[in-house]
């Protein structure tokens, strides 16, 4: 289910004194099964952009085409796309409202008019996909930990069986374990179900771990894009935008400055370890 964004411009409060252009002439295609990261400073238009992916906002100019269908073409097209593109907002646990975990996750599938047996099957499957057991079904979502509540909220979207998952800062405010759990489940959903995952994040570490391709936004425009390695190796441009490559990439640059022939395309601790061992052992071999 490829997504094509063409010449998208979005202006808030057009024609009023508060008029503000949040997204300017953005063209972007998202392939099937991609793991795409979107980064950029606050106010760069990331959230506005992704709200177009399932038609929550309508472009002021340009168009959004999902699976060959222009979202502006008809109400039916929009409704179909909303089922296929699941959007998870910042702090989604604030939108939990039902008395039990089961009811909360069941809300979406019930609205699709599915039978009770199918609803139950979907709820259990979705909870499993985020690592939550059936023993939580009858619990109040408000008794759970922050990380668990957030996973219940994500399960509510997964129960709609989307093809594309769009997440805005899914790990913000979580402790390291909660963060690692969410990232692990997203990786698995992508790997096992082939879901397309679009991740908006301030955490360079999170995108370094998860995203294969990165788009960098600034003042409503895409200013840099490429594979995650390519983008993070362009430290000067990122720093000009107030972004910083992840610590391991910075470490490699510093070693390179000191004359060590390490690769700059390093994103994770494990990759840094292998690269340093390769260079150090190579020197000893000489």
């Amino acid at each position: 289910m490829p997504i094509l964004i063409e010449g998208l411009t979005y202006v808030y409060a057009a024609g009023t004194p508060l008029e503000a252009r949040a997204v300017s002439d953005v063209t972007l295609s998202i392939e099937d099964g991609e793991l795409l990261g979107i980064i950029g400073p606050t106010g760069s238009g990331k959230t506005t952009l992704i709200q177009h992916l399932n038609g929550l906002l309508r472009p002021t100019q340009g168009r959004v085409v999902v699976d060959g269908v222009d979202l502006a073409s008809s109400r039916e097209a929009l409704r179909a796309v909303r089922r296929k593109v699941g959007l998870i907002f910042q702090y989604p646990e604030q939108q939990l409202f039902e008395e039990t975990v089961f009811e909360d996750v069941a809300f979406g599938p019930r609205n699709l008019g599915l039978g009770e047996a199918e609803v139950e099957a979907r709820v259990k499957e979705a909870l499993g996909q985020v690592g939550l057991g059936h023993e939580l079904l009858k619990r109040s979502p408000f008794e759970l930990s922050g990380g668990q509540m957030r996973r219940v909220a994500i399960a509510g979207v997964l129960a709609m069986k989307p093809k594309v998952l769009v997440l805005d800062e899914p790990t913000a405010g979580l402790d390291p374990r909660g963060r690692a759990e969410i990232l692990g489940h997203l990786e698995a959903l992508h790997g096992r179900l082939g879901l397309t995952v679009v991740l908006v994040s301030h955490s360079m570490r999170d995108v370094a771990r998860l995203a294969r391709r990165l788009v960098v936004m600034d003042r409503g425009r895409i200013v840099l894009s490429g594979t995650t390695r390519e983008v993070f190796s362009r430290a000067e441009e990122l720093e000009r935008l107030g972004l910083k490559p992840p610590p391991m990439t910075s470490l490699m640059r510093r070693l390179r400055d000191r004359g060590r022939p390490v690769s700059l395309g390093v994103l994770t601790v494990e990759e840094a370890r292998r690269e340093i061992l390769r260079v150090v052992r190579g020197e000893r071999g000489n």
Partner: protein, 275 residues
Amino acid sequence: MVRAENVSFRYGAGQPDEVAALFDVDLRVAPGEYVAVIGPNGSGKSTLAKHINALLMPSSGRVVVAGIDTRDPDRVWEVRQAAGMVFQNPDNQIVATVVEEDVAFGPENLGMPPAEIRRRVKEALEAVRLLEYSQHAPYALSGGQKQRLAIAGVLAIRPRCLVLDEPTAMLDPVGREEVLRTVRRLNREDGIAVIHITQDMEEAAEADRVVVMDGGRVVLEGTPRQVFARADLLRELGLEVPQVTELAQMLRADGLDIPPDLLTVDELVAALCPS
């Protein structure tokens, strides 16, 4: 500056659904010290912080701030003047529609004369580098600027200690850096003690001392080097160590001659490239 002695706290104490949140917590923070508090969600960090500001009172034990027992009902405002608190969400802490009025809110509540209020507002906005925004509307500020405004609001009452509860969690990297730089400067140049709750181990590594909480107890405490050398224990608690420390420990296990307690990129570069 801050002394928590055997502090235990139960939410809804005496009710059938009471929940114990702190057990026998001891914490001492010296004047001018920078202490980071880390721990998994639900470990009691925020509950402890609220005791320092007299937002919560111990069920047993006591908390003494600047020599005042927080349970003394006549001196709650003195406690809050000595220990100012900044929370996670910048949007929930702003009360006025103009930046300087927001900062003036605290001193006004303390009944200060207008000339003194003006002086303090100017000083506080200067300290967080927001003086040029004094006539702006807070809603139009960036996240980092809003958090600096929240800090200025606290500074205007001239606290001797800042209690920061995950102040950077909702900020982008620029905003995060702005806030951290501001806090470090207030600590080093003005000698304000800082108690900084964080989920970011790189942030904690910059403190003088790190306190680790789990299940309502302090389970580990020491300099960042001492604490992050205990990577196995931290991982068991669901925490982590800074990535540089993790890498240094791996390389050491691989047989390279590298100390196990490195905290920064500079230190690791120096260890790998001895000059």
